[in-house]
């Protein structure tokens, strides 16, 4: 397999106040992938990306970007990396054009090369008309797009975006998604984005890692994740231990121990069918419960957060005269 665009091993981060934000993360993102790092607020998404782009100092672990170990030669690795952070981090008083040109300069790109590139990127992102205004005059969505243009100036092969659509209205969100899809498809740019919206990962990304409390709890394809989310596991306590795992047509059955079975149920399947099959085989069920699922717990938190976000947005909209 080709060298991964990003490879993380055993990454831990303990902040100055003693908080363990990352507890040993392993992650590979393949070249050309469109990858989501999905998790609720405070999960450690920004910390992970911060370490990757050198803004946060890691406590332990290794990172390589296109095979370049960042402990050995971070400078060379940084050429491949474009960063769009979660919070605006440009000088608000500078002109839009100056911000992107300076960024190209920091990568050693000459002005004659940077100008046409700036024109193209700002044009594509609908900012060319605003180039001579100062950055603070831009709307939130425009500021976000300015950071995307800035990150792409030096033609990085890996673009990382931290919650790129937070605070961006739906219309703009779609056009931003379209743009990201395009550079992923046409220029082969590997893209990693963090989000706490499942729908965003679903509509954009091929692969996904789910992070919660500083740990990766799933790393799979988006399709597999969706299937898994549509599945519930039920535990059946039986009256008597079984010799062999019973077959139930259309269901995946596991024996946990002698007198306990785990059965996976996809959305749309009927529990009645399980009881019928077990009954036919003379197996008596004493009690049943569904298995606590870390993934599910996390999504409950995320959905609650999403609702809180919506409520806040609605309240803000109402407050507006």
């Amino acid at each position: 397999m080709a060298t991964p665009a990003l490879s993380i091993r055993g990454l831990t981060k303990v902040y100055g106040n003693g908080f363990h934000a990352l507890k040993g993360i392993d992650l590979d993102v393949q070249q050309g992938d469109f990858f989501a790092l999905l998790g609720p607020n405070g999960a450690g998404k920004s910390t992970t990306l911060g370490v990757v782009c050198s803004l946060v100092q890691k406590s332990a672990g290794q990172i390589s970007i296109f095979g370049i170990d960042t402990d050995r030669d971070f400078a060379r690795a940084k050429y491949h990396l474009g960063v769009v952070p979660q919070e605006f981090n440009f000088n608000q008083f500078e002109k839009v054009i100056d911000i992107v040109l300076a960024q190209a300069g920091y990568y050693g790109m000459s002005r004659s090369e940077a100008l046409p590139r700036a024109k193209r990127l700002l044009g594509d992102l609908g900012l060319w008309d605003k180039r001579d205004g100062s950055a603070r005059m831009l709307s939130g969505g425009m500021k976000r797009r300015l950071m995307i243009a800035r990150a792409l100036m030096h033609r990085p092969k890996l673009l990382i975006l931290d919650e790129p659509t937070a605070g961006v209205d739906i219309e703009l969100r779609r056009s931003m998604w379209e743009y990201l899809r395009r550079i992923n498809r046409e220029e082969g740019t590997t893209i990693i984005l963090t989000t706490h919206y499942l729908e965003e990962a679903e509509s954009l990304c091929r692969n996904v890692a789910i992070i919660n409390h500083g740990e990766i709890i799933r790393n799979t394809s988006v399709r597999a994740l969706l299937t898994e989310l549509d599945t519930e596991t039920f535990l059946f306590d039986l009256a008597a231990p079984l010799e062999a795992v019973p077959q139930i047509e259309g269901f995946e059955v596991q024996q946990i121990d002698g007198a306990q079975l785990a059965v996976m149920v996809h959305r749309g399947q009927r529990l009645n069918d399980i009881f019928a099959a077990l009954g036919e085989q003379g197996i008596e069920v004493v009690s049943m419960r569904n298995r606590a699922n870390r993934l599910e717990e996390m999504f409950v938190t995320m959905v609650e957060q999403g609702n809180a976000d919506l409520a806040r947005a609605a309240a803000a909209a109402e407050a507006r005269p």
């Binding site: 946060v56 971070f74 400078a75 960063v83 919070e87 440009f90 100056d98 800035r150």
Partner: protein, 257 residues
């Protein structure tokens, strides 16, 4: 980075720094010019004519080098302190940190920017002084050499201050409570030969005294202290402070969590 790329990165940063203080010239270039003009009028012209000679020169001629130096010191320092701190505050320092630009280039870029402002204001003050007196330089090369070194030194000082600062107040503490007193007591307005022996000794602990004196020596050919000594001390300070600033940057002090 290749040498060409480094040169581009450095120029980008220096150019940006110069543009910054030019854009806000009413805050950066105008006030020192007005203050120094006041000093010339009040101390040089009005009071100076009653003071008489100082070390064999008219009081006006005596204070011109000191005032130029004072302007260079405060402007170099405060330019880097406020520019770097505001980059930290607005987080635009991250633009540089995610780039492959080495830390010494970041440091050099801000320091050169501070020097551009410090020396620029120094030049303005020099030009203003020409309205009050005719200045001549006995040792022009030495004069320029000293003022450039001094500007570099205080630019680095401003950088370290900004790295350590957590809020805007933190970048005005050093100028107010350390730089200004040391400059006033650094022989800008008087010759330390006027002081009693004890206070001459204490004054010798003030680094700014050396810079002011060597600078004045360049103009007038007289100094309270040996020139070579003073020059070596300034160079040593620059090397040590540059090293400290770079070490702090490498460690991510004040900018990386």
């Amino acid at each position: 980075m290749s040498p060409t790329q480094i040169a581009i990165a450095l120029w980008t940063l220096v150019h940006k720094e110069i543009k910054r203080f030019m854009r806000i010239w009413p805050q950066t270039l105008l006030p020192p010019s007005i203050t120094m003009t006041m000093y010339f009028i009040i101390f040089g012209n009005l009071i100076g004519s009653r003071i008489g000679d100082m070390d064999g020169f008219s009081y006006m001629d005596f204070i011109v080098p000191g005032l130029i130096m004072m302007a260079v010191i405060t402007n170099s320092y405060s330019n880097v302190a406020s520019s770097f701190f505001s980059n930290k505050f607005q987080r635009s320092i991250e633009e540089m940190m995610v780039s492959p630009m080495p830390n010494w280039v970041i440091l050099a870029g801000f320091v050169l920017g501070g020097m551009a402002r410090g020396l620029g204001v120094g030049l303005i003050v020099t030009i203003v002084s020409l309205f009050f007196t005719r200045i001549s330089m006995v040792h022009p090369l030495l004069t320029i050499f000293v003022v450039v070194l001094t500007s570099a030194l205080f630019s680095i000082g401003g950088f370290i201050n900004a790295l350590l600062a957590d809020k805007f107040d933190d970048i005005s503490i050093v100028p107010t409570f350390i730089l200004t007193p040391l400059t006033y007591l650094g022989g800008v307005f008087y010759s330390i030969s006027m002081l009693p022996a004890l206070w001459q000794g204490v004054s010798m602990l003030n680094p700014i005294l050396y810079m002011v004196n060597v600078f004045r020596y360049g103009f007038l050919g007289v100094s309270d202290i040996p020139v070579v000594w003073a020059l070596s001390a300034i160079v040593a300070f620059i090397v040590v402070l540059f090293g400290i600033a770079l070490w702090m940057l490498d460690r991510g002090k004040g900018i990386r969590s």
